[in-house]
């Protein structure tokens, strides 16, 4: 029936320890923070009692006083996919800085209300007095005025992956334009003369920029190039089958999918259409997602080093915390080409 350590007593606190040792709270505080101005004899006694009582300093109070809670919030899509790496990067970087991660997941299920949900979560973060917020915005075409509340409070906000138009803040993402450019270069270099870029539509900045980089480079090189809007990052197989049956698709000898899913879907559609890869058509993806099927051909793609995005986001956050006035910075993580069997 009896509890083991703190029988009946309050939680260990400076006060409790002070009473038990017979000194003032200050002496305890000093000792436990490692100040050397305490008599060794007293200090030893204090440390012993603290140990016995399993004292843990209250970080919240520290935050209350210093204005630093050592908590940083991340707000991201509930279906992490791609972002799991970023999350790991964020978490481990924060850990190194002695900070804790408050995670907020925005479910797809909210649909058009996702933005309202995002705001609600941001408000919660503010109430928790987190030191900063790392955000993958649910929308990158929306007017983002409501982020001003965060910024106005002086809470550092770092946006990752999808850049918000008309909103100045720190940003970390992939160098999508360069990625698209290199994709085109690679295909052209491998002899392709009629290119196709499969993208996810106008609304998503990452897709748009990869496509733009690709188109620009292809056109500059004077090769034929088409684009096809797949309507999203995870189009149905039927979509592709339909497309690759059309005559227009017959001449294509190089395809760039703006993400791996699109590229793999194209791969299957090509197989069904009876076109060989990489002999007749070369295919590049983007993202370098883990390939769960060991029997599928290894997709040539680009690694986005997503973990680095997370690391860098934390770094920017810490820099702004140190120096709130400095100009906003955008960091673009370069992609790395990954050889595969499809190109």
């Amino acid at each position: 029936m009896m509890k083991s350590v703190n029988n009946g007593s309050r939680q260990a606190s400076l006060k409790v320890i002070a009473e038990q040792v017979g000194v003032s709270m200050m002496t305890v505080s000093r000792t436990l923070r490692g100040e050397t101005t305490v008599a060794e004899e007293t200090a030893a006694k204090i440390r012993k009692v603290a140990e016995t009582l399993k004292y843990r300093p209250n970080k919240l109070v520290e935050g209350l006083r210093t204005g630093r809670t050592c908590m940083v919030a991340a707000v991201m899509p509930a279906y992490l996919g791609f972002y799991e790496d970023a999350l790991r990067g964020i978490e481990s970087s924060l850990d190194l800085k002695g900070c804790s991660l408050v995670l907020n997941l925005i479910s797809r299920d909210f649909g058009r209300d996702a933005m309202r949900e995002e705001i609600r979560r941001l408000h919660r973060c503010l109430e928790l007095r987190v030191d900063g917020i790392i955000l993958r915005p649910v929308n990158d075409d929306a007017n983002a005025v409501y982020f001003n509340e965060v910024v106005d409070r002086g809470v550092p906000l770092v946006v990752i992956d999808r850049k918000l138009p008309d909103f100045a803040c720190d940003f970390v993402g992939t160098d999508d334009v360069a990625g698209g450019e290199v994709a085109a270069q690679k295909l052209i270099h491998k002899g392709c003369r009629s290119l196709l870029v499969l993208h996810a539509g106008e609304k998503v900045s990452t897709s748009r920029e990869r496509r733009d980089g690709f188109l620009a480079t292809a056109r500059a090189a004077g090769v034929n190039v088409e684009e096809l809007d797949c309507g999203g990052f995870n189009p149905s197989p039927e979509f592709f089958n339909l497309y690759f049956r059309q005559p227009a698709a017959q001449g294509v000898d190089g395809i760039f999918g703006v993400n791996d899913d699109i590229a793999r879907a194209a791969l299957r559609a090509l197989r069904i259409a009876g076109r060989s890869c990489p002999e007749q058509v070369k295919v590049l993806g983007f993202g370098h997602l883990p390939q769960s099927d060991p029997d599928a051909p290894r997709l040539a793609t680009f690694d986005q080093h997503v973990g680095l995005i997370g690391n860098e986001a934390v770094k920017l956050l810490m820099e702004r915390l140190e120096n709130p006035g400095k100009p906003y910075k955008s960091v673009y993580i370069p992609v790395q080409f990954i050889e595969g069997e499809t190109a």
Copy 2:
């Protein structure tokens, strides 16, 4: 150059609002918490100023006073895989309760030091004064005395997925024994008479229990049954190829892999060994992980409803918070058989 809202002034607080309106902090507090004992006229003024100043109550202080921080920590493997669903379940359930999730990821890279890392993270959670902790232990064979510090503090601890021996606390996991039993029943029912269970070794409770359930049911039914220790949840393809070349493997007509990865690996090895599935050998997996390759055969498996594990963990946590004295509870989420092409 000028900040937009709080130019030069302190953060909005009860005090600031009180001064601005010319009332006491208490009146402001009462108003903003929706008490009705405030004159409507005063209340209106207060609400307006609070709105203008974009006042957000400080949850930390609330926690300091009430002992409830509305923060719950989760400690899980950095490579979520399987646990991403649980994480979503936890996060969304917490959100419904008005709580925030503090996420701690334990990287595989720590190897044998993972436990030390786990302890360190638990300590951090205690310093943050979280209301409770949901933990997927890094080890389930280890002596877990150090969790006592958490329990002794009266911080509810709910363990998920892997049950700790010799440690009493709330637990939520899969009904692994029943899962193994049903797996054997299904195979026997489909006519298999020589079974094989591919498991991950003695150390992991989930694997062990699925195997035990499987073996017990198979033996009770009087069919032939063998077991093979794959040494982990992600064995190399070579491991299986080697095994299926042996004469002992030739008679097997029903295989149960304790997770989907093992089952799929077995599937490939069977194909290489020239044995047809499901005609000659039927294969069952466990876990119902998303199958990323649409061309691979749909694996017959068991859905663990991992999201529910997360939901239930939060429920247990809240129950214990309400009633710290009640006896510990173990909840086993039943699995659901998923038909597939491999059985």
